[in-house]
Amino acid sequence: MADLTPITPLGGTTLRSETIGALRIAEGDDWALASVAARAGQAQAVGAGLRELTGLDLPGPGGMASAGDWRALWLSPESWLLAAPLAQEPDIADTVKRPVGDGASVTEQTDAWVRFDITAPDDDRLWPLLERLCNIDPACAGPGTATRTVMEHLAAILLREGAGRAAVLGARSSAASLHHALVAAARSVA
């Protein structure tokens, strides 16, 4: 195995985690990510191939689906982001490419993103934070949704993991700015 020591998106050797009032904001880097874009006329075949691999049905716009260790979220028309535990899928693009073959374009995205897991006791205490970060209507972003948005001028995806739980995916290079925005907003509402 390679003997290189990774660093976290925030540039540390350990993952950062803050608890601010009832909110917890934790840096995460344990998801392997691959984008899958169906090629012309191949969406159905791609869906079938990936169902076999992951056990899930690819979601529609704004949606997220999960089955077992796999999850899929919608990115753009006929394009999705697939996630699985990195320890299990160190070369996720290769894993995903196999069942879809020439039917889809697959690109490794694991280190393109930083993930922050946000935990609150319930949605009522989660949204005061989120409404300071992004222009998303809570009524349209319940558990099981994945909404592309902008936070701190940065493109981001808000994943609703469950009641009181969310994850934010943002560009890895601006992880520190996104983290700063999340923490500042959390202090503001804590």
Partner: protein
């Protein structure tokens, strides 16, 4: 002790006392007070000095429309000038100071301006300070600015934070008076998501200020009950202390919530204010109405206030406005003030009503003077006498230390006009009411729509909510509204009392009836011209109390109706907003996000100096101990690359993953040069043109598989190029089967450059990969593993002109790879280099960057004209062949070398013939990039030179007038180093 506080009543907590200071003196008030009510209760009437004439001023209103009582709130860095005492919520320890006075509020030396008033009329700047012209900026303007004006900024950084946020609702109700509360209750009971916002800290609007009953409750109690019911509902968000400042497109409203303005300082980490962007399907504007004064001579004396405000001070804050109160009103609503004051035990001395048939309010001991007008006032620093002219024309004085004035009410139509709607004049109400062109989804209810009675407002609120609910697909519950007064509007329009003396219209900007007359006389008759000539309505209160009376006077002067005269434009924000609120948290280093490279922390630990490249921070150079000047570091780094091997983090270059059955065709169409035949495992330099034929970007693109390319863009153009490609994919050629995604952040990419680069890489790349010149030649690329199995990509490309590679690993391993390369190359003298050395190396090699690709250059200008293939079509190819872009005397990229190695050469210098004057007509081009070449030991540069292709060997001058440089330069090839490219192929 409170001198003017009534013994009972008011919505104040008398059990608690709040200490505060005004101009250094200690006072007390109660929770529920505003600064204005607490000062009035303490017998303080004089609160400020006017803008231009330094006239003593007190409160005119009891709300956000206040033009007079402007103070500086708080002190030190938190001092906030020009805040309205009428809306400043009192807190313990509040400090306020008066403004625009010297040495003191009671004695202001600048009040001499008042005597100079004949010279300071409308437009006086334009007439008075004409000569000499040069005096304007240096002499006149500073004097005027010192003499006039209001509060001053502290000049220090605001220590507080301001938030921004986004809210979503089915219905936004703006204003929590009777109409707003009724609307909110109706909608909330139907189950839709309601936001109810009110600028006041106490919801209730006029219900808090009036004495009449709603059913068997006081208005204030009914309002409190309604607010309590709403507060308990999950689908309702109550937002007191929140001003809706603007109505924008698509149901978006801006709102400022004063989160902590009523606290001494905001709690740690908490914002002072929050700027909300509210998206709503429907909105009900229930913003109420603003009372307007009647202008008469010296109507600005402290003690003269609007009748409704006086009622509010008496009813809501239990403040007696004076000991002998007179009224000057032209409508029945104003007469309520007399009744309410009398009921509170305040002595009313006279009711002056210009209506000949004015009803007598029947106040004991008060003279009722129908058909009379107030013609003047007297009193030092505050009112003690009014001068009245009776219906019979007889003038006499009446003792009065307070005068309530009402000329009627103006519906607050502001938000109905933010999308260029115009209000319409209603003769029956003598007021502008909302016009037909409302922002989409908005309904207006209550006084804002000209429905002034409480009964009318309650029912209009319900009806507006029912209409909104119907639009939302809900049914409104039956109204459950209390009995309330339903008095009609009885008013005789009356705007100003003719006569001598100055009668104020715009109190904040010191504009009088005479100024409007002067504007008319000087032909500034359109309302927009009148506004700008007199400055009426241009102060921070935006003329809320001044505009309509001024329009009426202009209408009188021009002989037109008020409807024909029209209004000026209403613009957001509805009330003043601190710039810090708009900035939010985007200030200082948080102004914009920052992007960090995968080796940022490592570079920091090496002591790197960083520079900004767009949002990126990149290592500029790595100073070593003993180096005293950046050039020493840069020279060392550049020489090390040419002599041995250097490392540079180039992850910032844009990386776009292009896949699909038609990926090759797509790349071939977006680049000007051919890519269709690029073999798998090879990289090619690509030149990308815009549709207009100018160069957009350049970079290398690697073919990883038949259907898979990775395109590299310049750092600056990563996003524009991606956008350009998406446009081409989605709009130009939707038939091509191609998919794009950015992978810029996914990979850490390190340039390994210099004659020893292969040696170093062979120590890091796993042994089963052949890196020999034959096995991995110049422009090869492929997947490799490094450091014992780590997946990586290797590209043999060179920006420096040396034997060079770029190696990419997943971003998390970038730092470790950099450290490994440093460790493995120690014996080779491996040297990290920053963008400064990178720049030197590429100038020496004649490679273009953003300095040359500035959006105005063609492939031909760059000496790359032959790259634009004529064997295929590509974006920009046709337009790049336009005649004007093919001129022989057009600009060409050339190299420059200073004739004298000790001279200086700066980018931006212009090129001139020897002996030619430094004027534009002699301009031959300009220097785009310049550096000291440690390799050539001379200043060198890249430049665009007219007809440059034919001018090699000539000597010109590079002239920089800004820094006074005039440098002799030889025109040479832009390829200073290894023009044949032997090194990079070695």
């Amino acid at each position: 002790m409170s001198r003017a506080r009534l013994p009972s009543g008011g919505q104040i907590d008398r059990a608690r006392r709040l200490e505060f200071r005004f101009d250094g003196r200690a006072y007390t008030g109660h929770p529920g007070d505003t600064l204005a009510s607490a000062l009035l209760a303490s017998g303080v009437r004089l609160m400020g000095r006017s803008f231009k004439y330094h006239r003593p001023r007190g409160v005119l209103t009891a709300g956000s429309e206040e033009p007079n009582a402007l103070v500086t709130l708080r002190s030190g860095a938190r001092a906030e000038p020009n805040t309205r005492a009428t809306v400043a919520e009192l807190f313990d320890g509040l400090e306020a100071t008066s403004q625009n006075r010297w040495p003191a509020l009671g004695f202001d030396a600048m009040a001499v301006n008042d005597w100079l008033a004949p010279f300071l009329t409308a437009g006086f700047y334009y007439k008075t300070f004409m000569w000499p012209a040069s005096f304007w900026e240096r002499v006149y303007e500073p004097i005027i600015r010192r003499a006039a004006g209001l509060g001053a900024l502290s000049g220090r950084d605001d220590p507080d934070d301001y938030d921004k946020g986004f809210l979503h609702a089915d219905l936004l109700v703006i204003g929590a008076g009777p109409a707003g509360l009724s609307a909110a209750l109706t909608a909330a009971r139907a189950g839709v998501r309601v936001i109810l916002a009110d600028e006041d800290f106490r919801m209730g609007g006029r219900l808090s200020a009036e004495a009449f009953a709603l059913g068997d409750q006081s208005g204030a109690d009914w309002a409190a009950g309604a607010v309590a019911e709403l507060a308990d509902m999950e689908n309702v968000r109550l937002m007191p202390r929140t001003t809706v400042i603007g109505a924008f497109d698509h149901g978006v409203y801006g709102a400022v919530e004063r989160v902590a303005d009523h606290l001494p300082i905001p709690p740690e980490g908490k914002p002072r204010q929050t700027l909300w962007r509210i998206s709503t399907s429907r909105a009900i504007l229930a913003a109420g109405a603003t009372e307007r004064p009647i202008a008469f001579a010296d109507n600005d004396r402290p003690g003269i206030m609007l009748a409704g405000a006086m009622r509010a001070y008496a009813n809501r804050w239990a403040v007696a406005p004076g000991k002998r109160v007179a009224l000057f009103v032209n409508n029945d609503d104003g007469l309520r003030t007399a009744r309410d004051l009398a009921a509170q035990g305040v002595r009313v001395t006279a009711v002056i009503d210009p209506r000949a048939d004015a009803p007598d309010p029947g106040i004991d001991g008060a003279r009722h003077l129908p058909g009379a007008v107030v013609t003047g006032s007297a009193g030092r620093l505050g009112l003690d006498t009014i001068i009245v002219r009776s219906a019979q024309g007889k003038e006499f004085r009446i003792d009065a230390d307070a005068l309530a004035v009402s000329g009627g009410w103006n519906p607050n139509v502001h938000l109905t006009c933010h999308q260029r709607g115009r209000p319409v004049w209603d003769d029956a109400l003598a007021a502008f009411v909302p016009g037909p062109d409302l922002p989409a989804g908005m309904t207006v209810a209550g006084a804002a729509a000209g429905t002034f009675s409480t009964h009318g407002a309650l029912h209009a609120g319900h009806a507006a909510a029912a209409e909104a609910l119907a639009a939302l697909g809900h049914k409104a519950p039956a109204p459950d509204l209390p009995q309330a007064e339903d008095a009609p509007v009885t008013l005789h329009p009356f705007w100003h009392v003719a006569g001598k003396g100055r009668a104020w219209l715009d109190f904040q900007n010191d504009v009088t009836v005479k100024d409007v007359k002067l504007a008319h006389q000087e032909n500034f008759r359109s309302v927009e011209h009148m506004k700008r000539y007199t400055t009426l309505g241009m102060a921070t209160d935006q003329g809320k109390t001044a505009n309509v009376p001024a329009l009426a006077i202009m209408a009188e002067l021009t002989g037109k109706s008020i409807a024909e005269t029209g209004t000026t434009i209403f613009r957001p924000p509805y009330t003043p907003v601190a710039l810090g609120t708009f900035a939010g948290r985007a200030r200082g280093r948080a102004f914009k996000p920052t992007r960090l490279t995968p080796t940022h922390q490592w570079a920091e630990a090496q002591g790197a100096v960083f520079t900004e490249a767009g949002l990126w921070l990149r290592a500029q150079y790595f100073p070593r101990p003993g180096e005293t000047h950046w050039r020493e570091s840069v020279d060392r780094e550049a020489l090390a690359v040419r002599a041995s091997v250097g490392l540079c983090d180039v992850s910032t270059l844009g990386k776009i993953d292009i896949q699909g059955a038609d990926a090759a065709e797509f790349v071939n169409r977006v680049y000007a040069n051919g890519f269709a035949k690029l073999p798998v495992g090879r990289v090619r330099y690509g030149l990308m043109l815009r549709e207009d034929g100018f160069v957009m970007d350049d970079g290398t693109t690697a073919r990883l598989a038949e259907d898979h390319f990775v395109m590299t863009t310049t750092t600056a153009n990563a996003v524009p190029v991606f956008r350009h490609l998406e446009f081409a994919r989605q709009c130009l050629w939707p038939g091509l089967d191609v998919q794009l995604i950015s992978t810029t952040d996914a990979w850490a990419q390190i340039a390994v450059a210099g004659p020893q680069s292969r040696t170093l890489l062979q120590r890091v790349v796993d042994a089963d990969h052949d890196l020999s010149n034959e096995g991995f030649p110049f422009m090869a690329c492929g997947a490799v593993t490094v450091c014992g199995g780590q997946r990586a990509r290797l590209f043999r490309i060179s920006f420096s002109g040396e034997l060079a590679y770029e190696v990419a690993v997943p971003a998390r391993y970038g730092q470790a790879l950099m450290e490994r390369l440093m460790a493995q190359g120690a014996d080779l003298g491996v040297t990290p280099y920053g963008v400064e050395a990178l720049n030197v190396l590429r100038i020496e090699k004649g490679h273009a960057t953003a300095n040359e690709l500035n959006g105005q250059t063609t492939a031909r200008d760059l000496g790359l004209g032959r790259m634009v293939s004529d064997k295929k079509d590509s974006i920009g190819a046709v337009l790049s062949r336009r005649e004007g872009m093919m001129r022989e005397d057009g600009l060409h990229l050339v190299g420059l070398r200073a004739v004298n190695a000790d001279s200086r050469l700066a980018a931006g210098s212009h090129l001139l013939e020897r002996g030619a004057g430094a004027v534009a007509a002699n301009d031959l081009g300009w220097v785009t990039s310049a550096c000291w070449s440690p390799h050539l030991e001379a200043p060198i540069a890249l430049a665009f030179l007219k007809g440059g292709a034919r001018r090699q060997g000539e000597t010109l001058r590079a002239v920089n007038l800004l820094s006074g440089q005039d440098t002799e330069v030889a025109v040479v090839s832009p390829h200073f180093i290894d023009p044949e490219g032997e090194r990079l192929r070695g």
